[in-house]
């Protein structure tokens, strides 16, 4: 097997991507927990921890640049490295979503309001499950699994719509809660975006193996945050 | 030739003239080259022409006087009787001692009677061309001029010629002593010139820094290569024969009667003569060894001599050997220096050591050529053929050697 150095470096980078992924998963999971427990202190922790995620992302990016500069990867190796660059950006944004959720917890403070926490948790579980499987499909270059994951986004979207209409009804019922519920809308929006970004990761996985870039879910791509 | 014919008429005629000139000169150039080949052919033919041909033989004693029936029909006993009657008793005993008469075959005895009693001698000889074209006239003239003689075809180059030693009668003379002399000289020449020449070449190519003394050595060798061979003869005469005669004559071993005119002097002189050629050839062979081979060796921590001995010399060897053999062929044919260091053509004893007096093949040729009698020209031609065959086989050997070594290396 020639090009051992490059092979080793890519393997190392993939490990790093998994590590970054699990950091994001943890952060999202923790963020939802702070909302459930209304724990402002823990929320601040999640908020601060986002910095490590960002740093990790830049470390990986730097390593990729060095690898490209020194190893001149070609074909699949090059696509993998380009995909990793894309994926770590996605992961970093997902980290930002977790940070956003923790920020909502902090902003809500002690305010009294009905939180559809069960549905939110369910949304998180669905999204994180997708992320987890998408990342392992990516690392294993498993295009078949990766191409099936985007379909699960529908369930997330359904939950989002459900929670959305529920919260809007609450707002109409009690206009004093408008501000708080507006914050909660942010939370579900973030979770919905997280699932969308998982779709991008899956697209990259297919790209590595086939060399073709294709849209898997056109649903709300153009939507702004 | 006519690729330009579509050009304008005026330049066309001009062009035709140019092409005509070109053709004429082409023929001249070609003829010059052909002339060289024709000359070589003439050279060889003219030698062959003299080495073979009809001779008129006259018997000292006519066979009819010895016996009434042809010798071939006589019995062994009768032949022995004839020998006993016609030979001196000493001669008879000598022959008997070589091999008892009783043990000889009849045919052998017939030959013996012819050689010892009938003793045919050459009284007239003809060149090959004349022999073939005017055979009948020769026959007629010989019959008229030598009524007792008879005409036969004779090859002056024959096995006896090679194995006999020098004699003052052409038909009994041979080149054995001369061949031995040449071989002894070459042996000394090679033993001295090869190591010295290769050594000098190694020194100049591998060791010599480009300083004054080494430049002088190099220039000096190049100049020596052009010095006429007779100058080397003078040098050999002055130094080896005269100056060091005590050593080259074997005087220091107590056998100094030959003075310095010995094989050793001749060999040393020849060695000096071929040394520059040998060095230049060896230098070229060494220079042709790729630098990468040397670097590989030095890179492993080899010393200079290890590099030269294990890598440079083996790679250069085919070239060095070829060059050496070419130099040797030159030495074998050289005559002038041998004349100066005292080769003598009247030697009929084979050389026994390096302190022997000597003759050599080219010396013998020279000597015979300058004799007025035709028969000596004939044996000179025969000797030339021997010399040329020797040179050709040596060159063939060089080619074989080169091929063999080249194969081993690649």
């Amino acid at each position: 097997m020639t090009r051992e150095v490059l092979t080793q470096q890519i393997k190392k980078l993939l490990d790093e991507v998994l590590l970054l992924g699990s950091m994001v998963e943890q952060a999202t999971f923790n963020a939802i927990a702070t909302l459930k427990n209304r724990d402002i202190h823990a929320a601040r922790q999640v908020y601060d921890d986002d910095q490590t995620i960002n740093e990790k992302r830049f470390a990986i990016e730097n390593a990729i640049i060095i690898t490209i500069a020194t190893q001149q990867p070609m074909a699949r190796d090059l696509r993998t490295l380009a995909a990793i660059l894309e994926i770590i950006t996605e992961l970093e944004r997902m980290g930002d979503y977790a940070k956003g959720i923790a920020k909502v917890t902090m902003r809500l403070g002690d305010a009294e309001l009905p939180i559809p926490i069960r549905e939110i948790e369910q949304m998180g579980e669905l999204g994180l499950g997708m992320l987890h499987r998408a990342l392992s499909a990516f690392v294993n270059e498993d295009a078949r699994t990766a191409s099936k994951i985007p379909a699960e986004d529908d369930a997330v979207d359904a939950l989002y719509n459900e929670i959305y209409s529920e919260l809007v009804n609450e707002m109409i019922a009690d206009p004093r809660l408008i501000e708080s519920i507006n914050l909660l809308l942010w939370v579900v929006h973030n979770l919905e975006r997280l699932a969308d970004r998982v779709t991008n990761i899956c697209e990259r996985t297919v790209f590595i193996t086939t060399g073709e870039l294709m849209e898997m879910d056109t649903a709300d791509e153009e939507e702004n945050e | 030739m006519n690729e330009y014919t579509d050009l304008a008429g005026e330049s066309n005629t001009n062009l035709q003239k140019r092409h005509r000139d070109s053709k004429i000169w082409r023929t001249i150039f070609y003829a010059s080259t052909a002339a060289a080949i024709i000359i070589l052919a003439i050279l060889i033919l003219s030698i062959v022409n003299q080495a073979f041909g009809l001779v008129v033989l006259k018997n000292t004693v006519e066979p009819e006087k010895i016996s009434s029936v042809p010798l071939e029909q006589l019995s062994s006993q009768d032949l022995i009787k004839i020998l006993k009657k016609n030979l001196t008793s000493n001669r008879y005993k000598t022959i008997d001692r070589d091999m008892p008469f009783t043990a000889r075959s009849q045919a052998d005895l017939v030959d013996l009677v012819i050689a010892e009693v009938v003793k045919p001698t050459v009284v007239d000889s003809y060149h090959l061309d004349v022999s073939i074209l005017h055979r009948n006239e020769i026959m007629a003239r010989a019959a008229e001029k030598y009524p007792n003689g008879h005409v036969e075809f004779h090859s002056w180059l024959n096995p006896e010629f090679i194995t006999r030693s020098m004699s003052s009668t052409p038909e009994l003379a041979g080149v054995r002593t001369a061949i031995f002399g040449s071989l002894w000289i070459i042996l000394i020449t090679v033993l001295v010139a090869f190591p010295t020449g290769v050594g000098a070449a190694i020194y100049l190519e591998e060791y010599a820094a480009s300083n004054r003394i080494n430049k002088i050595i190099q220039t000096n060798i190049d100049n020596l290569a052009g010095v006429p061979s007779i100058i080397y003869g003078i040098l050999g005469l002055a130094i080896f024969v005269r100056g060091l005669g005590y050593f080259t004559g074997g005087g220091f071993l107590g056998s100094g009667e030959t003075g310095g005119r010995t094989i050793l002097s001749a060999g040393l002189t020849m060695a000096l003569l071929i040394l520059p050629i040998l060095i230049i050839n060896a230098q070229e062979a060494i220079r042709a060894v790729p630098r990468s081979l040397r670097e590989a060796s030095y890179g492993l921590g080899a010393t200079k001599w290890q590099t030269i001995w294990h890598h440079v010399l083996p790679s250069a060897l085919p070239g060095i050997l070829t060059g050496t053999i070419l130099a040797i062929s030159r030495a074998i044919g050289e005559t002038a220096p041998l004349i100066l260091v005292g080769a003598s053509s009247f030697i009929n004893r084979d050389p026994s050591s390096v302190f022997s007096r000597f003759t050599a093949l080219p010396i013998q040729i020279y000597n015979w050529t300058t004799r007025p009698q035709d028969e000596f020209r004939n044996i000179a031609a025969a000797a030339i053929l021997v010399l040329l065959v020797l040179l050709l086989s040596l060159n063939a050997f060089a080619i074989l050697m080169r091929n063999r070594f080249t194969r081993r290396i690649s």
Binding site: - | Y4, R18, D21, W25, R26, I28, F29, S32, T33, A35, A36, I37, I39, L40, L43, S46, P195, G197, G199, A200, I202, Y203, Y207, A208, N214, I217, N220, I221, N223, G226, V227, P228, I230, I231, G233, I234, L235, A238, I239, L272, L275, P276, T303, K304, W305, S329, R330, I332, G333, T335, A336, I339, L340, G342, P362, I365, Y366, T369, A381, L391
Partner: protein, 321 residues
């Protein structure tokens, strides 16, 4: 492995306690290498000794020759008679016959040799070359004594047949000169061919590209470009002819003769040396010493020509290599 090296070092080098250089780097005294280098230098130096020997012996004996009261330097170069037995020591008759044979040889060798070289380098196909060159090499490898034989037994009878037996002596400089020309021909052609082939291909192509014929290219472009090499070949050929001994010793005749008639016998310098030394000449006689004096002249002339030739050939090498 390293231990072996170190052991070796220990056994061959005296350890200087003051030396800072660690053992594995320290200079070894390799006596065998030094001895070998000494021997090799000696081999190279043998050539110097040879030259010194030549110059010394020729010089010494020549001095003895000129020390003879019968000989004067002026006479040596102006007297037209060379008869040592009666005290006539003028090199001119020997020199003129040498020049005569050389001149005749050059008339044969130079044009024919150059033409053959042009043919081989400019016209001949590689197949023809591979046949012709070895033949020329064989011609070059024939011993000179054989050429001498050829001159006497073939060339002379032919010349006498053409010009008449009463006009051409049995020994004559024409026959010797012509055969000498044949002998030198391969040298001229191979050296000239080397010079011609050294002319870069691009030069020829440029000439062809301008529409010149093969002849015009060869004669007007290639030959001038190779001129210094060709002249070097000519000069070497002259030097070789002057030094050639056996042909003239056999075919040119013995006994000095101040003549420019190529049909007459005349002894050359080399022929004289060969004849005198062929007999048992006594040491320290005027005859013996005279061969050194003539040898010295011969040596200086040929050396001068060789040096000139090498200068010229170095010049063309410089241009194209």
């Amino acid at each position: 492995m390293r231990e072996q090296i170190m052991n070796h070092t220990l056994s061959t080098v005296q350890i200087k306690p003051a030396s800072r250089v660690p053992e594995f780097l320290r200079k070894k005294k390799r006596w065998n290498e030094i001895l070998i280098q000494g021997f090799l230098f000696f081999c190279g130096f043998v050539s110097i000794l040879t030259t010194i020997g030549i110059v010394f012996e020729l010089g010494k004996e020549s001095l003895l020759f000129f020390a003879n009261p019968d000989v004067s330097l002026l006479e040596f170069f102006t007297n037209t008679r060379w008869q040592p037995s009666i005290g006539e020591f003028g090199i001119l008759p020997l020199a003129t016959s040498t020049l005569l044979t050389t001149l005749i040889a050059m008339i044969v060798a130079l044009p024919v040799g150059l033409s053959a070289a042009i043919f081989l380098s400019e016209y001949a196909s590689s197949k023809a070359r591979s046949v012709l060159k070895p033949i020329l090499e064989i011609l070059a490898g024939v011993p000179t004594v054989v050429y001498g034989y050829f001159a006497l037994t073939f060339m002379t009878p032919v010349l006498r047949g053409i010009f008449g037996e009463q006009n051409v002596e049995i020994y004559n400089t024409l026959s010797a000169g012509l055969v000498m020309g044949i002998m030198i021909l391969p040298l001229v052609s191979s050296m000239s061919e080397d010079a011609l082939t050294a002319v870069p291909r691009s030069l020829r192509e440029a000439a062809y590209g301008l529409g010149s014929t093969r002849l015009e290219t060869a004669v007007q472009i290639v030959v001038p470009a190779a001129l210094s090499g060709i002249i070097a070949a000519f000069i070497i050929a002259i030097s070789r002819a002057i030094g050639e001994t056996m042909i003239v010793a056999i075919a040119a005749g013995s006994g000095s003769n101040f003549t420019f008639n190529p049909f007459k016998a005349a002894e050359t310098m080399t022929g004289y040396i060969a004849r005198i030394s062929g007999g048992d000449v006594g040491y320290d006689t005027p005859d013996y010493n005279s061969i050194f004096a003539i040898g010295l002249v011969l040596f200086l002339v040929t050396l001068g020509l060789n040096i000139l030739s090498r200068r010229l050939s170095a010049k063309y090498r410089e241009v194209y290599e």
